[in-house]
């Protein structure tokens, strides 16, 4: 209020909606549901048409959902719909390996029985999660879902922010939230720069069918070229996230399924018997991309728009859901005490809450990757001893399990199983 100029009438009229969300991926719908449950009206602008990603066939994409994230999905009514389609993660086994010699001798095992909260996470297929998101948004009276629409421009005016869509429709709200991924248009238009770098690595992602039961155990093999995660899905299937140097990944992706499996087998090992590819194969270039600020005037960023991290710890979805839980809590509490929910001081609370946490995670996964993605003999020995040492210390192991389950740090109420 440094410049109290007269305001035009159009700018003081009540906005179309409390919250505008751009992006209907993994974070946007969870945030929309949490906000609408708290009594705020939400319009979600989703670039994808509604019928994509809801096809019944499995497309090979799946996510590791931490325990804390599951609580948020429970609070927003999504979890009961998808619970039966998920696979609980009952144990985690971490090994340091070399491509042709199989997993190394030193390993670190975590068992869910070591913490009281139950399974440390669940594996969830994209097709089931997205369908549940869509249904929940359609059923919620507080949410307007606009599929197949893109934001072309945004403008802050008076006590609100407005967006113009690709069908020339203009919508106004008190806050615009960018959940539009690591190339966030909302962030770019708000003048928020990004810091980050590529790792020269690409993740190969697909689902594998196998012969022997996986018993709910997730595996992380650290290889010189990058980590290989093997994550259990319902039935005799696992989801793999297999990181290789960019050029090698490109070559492997170009192979047919038979050739792909030939390269995978020595890394994967034979502990699950015969293996075959199930569904599509995807590649994702790995990199770190942090927004220099999570907020701007009447703008907030959540999910990958705020922070794209290395996916090796499986934390991308979980970090996004933590953002959703924190931002929903900040905005709902502000509304209930009568504050302007788009005021700078309100949005600053969200940034203070989340920015440190995500920066820590980004640095941690970055460091882990650098530590493990090489073939230096001394480092290999140190890694092996480190894994064995952690394995021998129950208290430290429990701390790791609680971290993996997303139970550490300043948790949003919805992730503690409390209502806002």
């Amino acid at each position: 209020m440094d410049n109290p100029a007269p305001t035009r009438l159009s700018e003081t009229m009540s906005p179309d909606t409390d919250i505008l969300i751009a992006g209907g991926g993994l974070t946007g719908p969870a945030l929309a549901l949490a906000l609408a449950d708290g009594g705020l009206s939400v319009t979600l602008i989703d670039a994808r048409p509604a019928n994509t990603r809801t096809k019944p066939a499995f497309d090979g994409r799946a996510y590791a959902l931490a325990l804390a994230s599951r609580r948020l999905l429970t609070a927003t009514g999504v979890w009961p719909v998808v619970a039966d389609t998920s696979q609980p993660i009952l144990g985690i086994r971490i090994t340091d390996g070399r491509a042709n010699s199989g997993p190394g001798r030193h390993s670190l095992c975590f068992d869910h029985a070591e913490i009281e909260e139950g399974p440390m996470g669940h594996m969830l297929e994209d097709r089931f999660l997205y369908r549940a998101y869509l249904k929940a948004m359609q059923d919620h009276p507080g949410i307007t879902h606009l599929p197949g629409r893109a934001v072309c421009s945004q403008r802050v005016a008076g006590a609100g922010v407005s967006v113009r869509l690709d069908n020339r429709q203009t919508l106004s709200g008190a806050v615009l939230i960018g959940c539009d991924g690591r190339h966030s248009g909302v962030a770019e238009r708000a003048g928020i720069g990004r810091t980050g770098w590529g790792y020269g690595q690409t993740s190969l992602v697909c689902a594998i069918e196998h012969e022997l039961p996986h018993r709910g155990v997730a595996h992380q093999h650290f290889m010189p070229a990058g980590p290989l995660a093997i994550l259990p899905l319902p039935g005799n299937r696992v989801s793999i996230v297999w990181s290789e140097r960019d050029r090698a990944a490109r070559d492997i992706q170009a192979l047919d399924d038979g050739g792909y499996l030939d390269v995978l087998r020595p890394r994967f090992g034979d502990f699950l018997g015969n293996i075959s590819v199930s569904g599509q194969r995807f590649t994702y270039p790995l990199g770190l991309s942090l927004a220099n600020s999570f907020i701007a005037e009447r703008v907030a960023l959540a999910g990958d728009a705020a922070h794209g991290v290395h996916p090796l710890a499986g934390q991308g979805l979980n970090l996004g859901l933590r953002d959703a839980g924190a931002l929903a809590e900040v905005l709902i509490c502000a509304r209930r005490r009568g504050e302007d929910i788009g005021a700078g001081q309100v949005l600053a609370r969200y940034q203070r809450w989340r920015r440190w946490d995500t920066a820590t995670m980004a640095v941690a996964t970055d460091g882990l990757n650098r530590l493990f993605s090489n073939d230096n003999g001394a480092l290999r020995l140190a890694r092996g001893l480190g894994l064995s040492a952690v394995n021998g210390l129950p208290r430290l192991r429990r701390a790791f399990i609680r971290e993996a389950a997303g139970l550490t740090g300043d948790l949003p109420a919805l992730m503690q199983g409390r209502q806002i």
């Binding site: 305001t7 700018e11 003081t12 009540s14 708290g38 009568g338």
Partner: protein, 252 residues
């Protein structure tokens, strides 16, 4: 602009009014002179909204939980409390003895798209005019007026039977001198020097006495406590040693 006792016709102190007028334009700058108030505001609002909801049986998750309640924000300044109350659906009158504050508050309410009846008036003038309210917010004012007992009586006078008054002020003891004067004005420079006169601070017992003498029944009191690690304010059940707040109701 000069505001004197005769113009506003009440217990306000002319020097105090002029001091605040100079600061008026700063009201809505969260990083300006009123930063401490902006920092305290969420905590004050939590207390106020909670007490109103309890007294009038309202659900804060409703769209306009305070609809139908007539609320007076006395010493409203730039409208830091009036605007949230209007957003929650209350019919708000904001009163301040400093005309500069009222100008700032009116301007800002317009920009926020809120309808608030701002008046340059004192509690005494409103009582004489026969105005009556369900809720009176009397926040961080009593330590600035010339005759606190008369002022509290005037506030009680505009309350309807069954109405609720929330009053906050600063305790008078060695700690409040150290924190509110030496700490906030000298060391941290949160407040301009001379914002507060320690001798005007009021102990909870003195305040309760004034409230009872005005015919109201005190029902609750809490401390506002600054937490340095979180760098923010929180409500405390026990610690009323510096900033504190009370709720009282008019029988009827």
């Amino acid at each position: 602009m000069q505001a004197t006792d005769t113009e506003t016709g009440g217990t306000t102190d002319a020097e105090e009014v002029a001091k605040f007028e100079a600061m008026a334009a700063e009201w809505w700058n969260p990083n300006g002179k009123f930063r401490p108030l902006h920092m305290l505001n969420p905590c004050r609002l939590d207390y106020i909204t909670g007490q109103i909801a309890m007294e009038f049986d309202r659900d804060l998750s409703d769209r306009a939980p305070f609809a139908g309640l007539r609320l007076l924000d006395i010493g409203c300044g730039g409208g830091l409390l009036s605007e949230p109350m209007a957003r929650l659906g209350a019919e708000v009158t904001g009163a301040d003895a400093a005309p500069g504050n009222i100008r700032v508050a009116r301007l800002h309410a317009g920009q926020s798209g809120l309808k608030i009846d701002y008046r340059c008036a004192t509690a005494e003038a409103l009582a004489e005019a026969g105005e009556r309210f369900d809720v009176v917010l009397n926040m961080e004012v009593v330590e600035h007026v010339a005759r606190p007992p008369d002022y509290i009586a005037a506030c009680a006078g505009v309350l309807r039977p069954g109405g609720l008054m929330i009053t906050s002020t600063i305790n008078r003891n060695a700690k409040s001198f150290a924190l509110a004067i030496v700490g906030a004005e000298v060391v941290l420079r949160w407040l301009p020097k001379g914002t507060h006169d320690w001798r005007r601070f009021i102990t909870p017992d003195e305040l309760y006495g004034m409230i009872r003498a005005a015919g109201l029944e005190p029902v609750d009191r809490k401390g506002f406590v600054f937490r340095p690690l979180a760098w923010g304010w929180a409500l405390s059940e026990r610690d009323l040693s510096v900033n504190y707040v009370t709720a009282s109701v008019k029988p009827g």
